[in-house]
Amino acid sequence: MFEQISENKFKSGVLVFCFLVLIFLLVWLLQYLMGLGVAGFVLALVFASFTAFLSYWASDKIVLAMSRARPVTKEEYPYLHNVVEGLAIAAGIPAPRCYVIDDTAPNAFATGRNPKNSVICVTTGLLQKLNRAELEGVIGHEMSHIRNYDILLQTLTVVMVGIVALLSDWILRGVFWGGGRRRSSSRDRGGGQLALVLVAVGLVLAVLSPIVSQLIRLAVSRRREFLADASSAQLTRHPAGLASALRKLASDPEPLEAANKATAHLYIINPLKNVKGVVNKLFSTHPPIEERIAALERM
């Protein structure tokens, strides 16, 4: 477990650094296309550091806002609070704050940057459809994501993937609409060859970056779900609870409206409900639910 924590922290650091570089390159390319010169370089640097900083400190808030989650008091949902507090004790971490999404599709996720600043978010549908043992299984799964610092890595990915997608979108548009004009003026300055190469590299980068960030996200999440299932069983000492909860969640046909492609990998099961066919299975962020249930039943 401790190896996993340090691995997660290390990976988060590497991820932040890579994204910093990638975003710097993208912004620099963007300003190059717009021809801002030195000011653009500074802009790129400031923007890159700002996004890296933002994604560390505010990504949990961004994710919660994206999912339309609201904080709930103990008076409103004593049941949820009691379960969360109990499992926090079992995991030996401070109790996370509780958030709720008003949606009948049962699902849950955890976010935050460390166990002290963490949030567990469930849908109202989850609270209605699961019994206590099943809810404990689900919360135990989220609790182990928190304890292992999976939440840091996963939440960072949401915001960073979003920013890269946005930037590469802008650049592609910039090349198509402003590229010709730029190229002729830089040839006047005698740097035509270099400029062409840069634009080509930039184009490749702009096309590749969403794919790369997708792949990072896939690598991040799949093995972790199995691990979190196992740790949940270790916390609750009742693997059947989580297995039965997963079965209920999987058989529920409703998609979660507040979820989208950027946040889907945070949830305990895929909230988008479109995992059919070979390609989807290859690119899905979650391992098939039957495999997870089978692994729990072997315990």
Partner: protein, 185 residues
């Protein structure tokens, strides 16, 4: 040669310091676990009088059950050692079970909002007690294993680290698992 010797001594000291510190960490985790259990148990003792009062309002005649609960609670509060606490807790658990079994016979009581809230609070606290016990016992197991293993057992002996008791459910466990007898006197 002297240089190599000094490095060797230095490494040895670092090794001993590391072992000592890990023992301290594990011991503190046990203490923290025990404090956590204590917090949850106290919360439960505070809930019980409220619960008894609420049930009394509907089921005045079940004096026997109320007395058992109150007595078990007093005993649990005054328990000193880890072992005593364990057995007192089991008695209390059994008594509470019979209290809820009695409540089953009073439909108006089961519909009472206050009673439902207390029941949820108590169930939540009970599972918190169970989880904190699990955390404490896991910590104790790690601590005791470290104390018994070589070479940390030497350090533990030198600095007086003592093995801890598990917070066990002893004889009471069997009693708590027995079907509850409900008398209709």
């Amino acid at each position: 040669m002297l240089f190599v010797f000094l490095i060797f001594i230095g490494l040895f000291v670092l090794f001993v310091v590391g072992l000592y510190n890990s023992l301290v960490t594990l011991r503190n985790r046990c203490d923290n676990g025990w404090a956590q259990i204590d917090v949850q148990l106290r919360r439960r003792y505070d809930l019980i009088p409220n619960l008894v009062e609420t049930v009394k309002g509907y089921a005045k005649h079940e004096r026997e059950v109320f007395e058992r609960v109150t007595q078990a609670r007093t005993q649990a509060i005054s328990a000193g050692t880890v072992k005593e606490q364990g057995s007192a807790e089991n008695m209390l658990q059994g008594a509470l079970k019979s209290l809820f079994a009695v409540a089953e016979n009073y439909p108006e009581l089961k519909a009472n909002q206050n009673f439902l809230m207390l029941q949820e609070e108590l169930a939540g606290t009970e599972s918190k007690v169970a989880y904190s016990r699990q955390f404490y016992n896991d910590s104790v197991m790690k601590f005791n294993t470290r104390i018994q293993m070589f070479p940390s057992n030497i350090i533990a002996g030198m600095f007086g680290f003592k093995e801890r008791d598990y917070f066990e459910i002893g004889a009471g466990e069997a009693a708590a698992k027995e079907p509850v007898k409900v008398s209709f006197s």
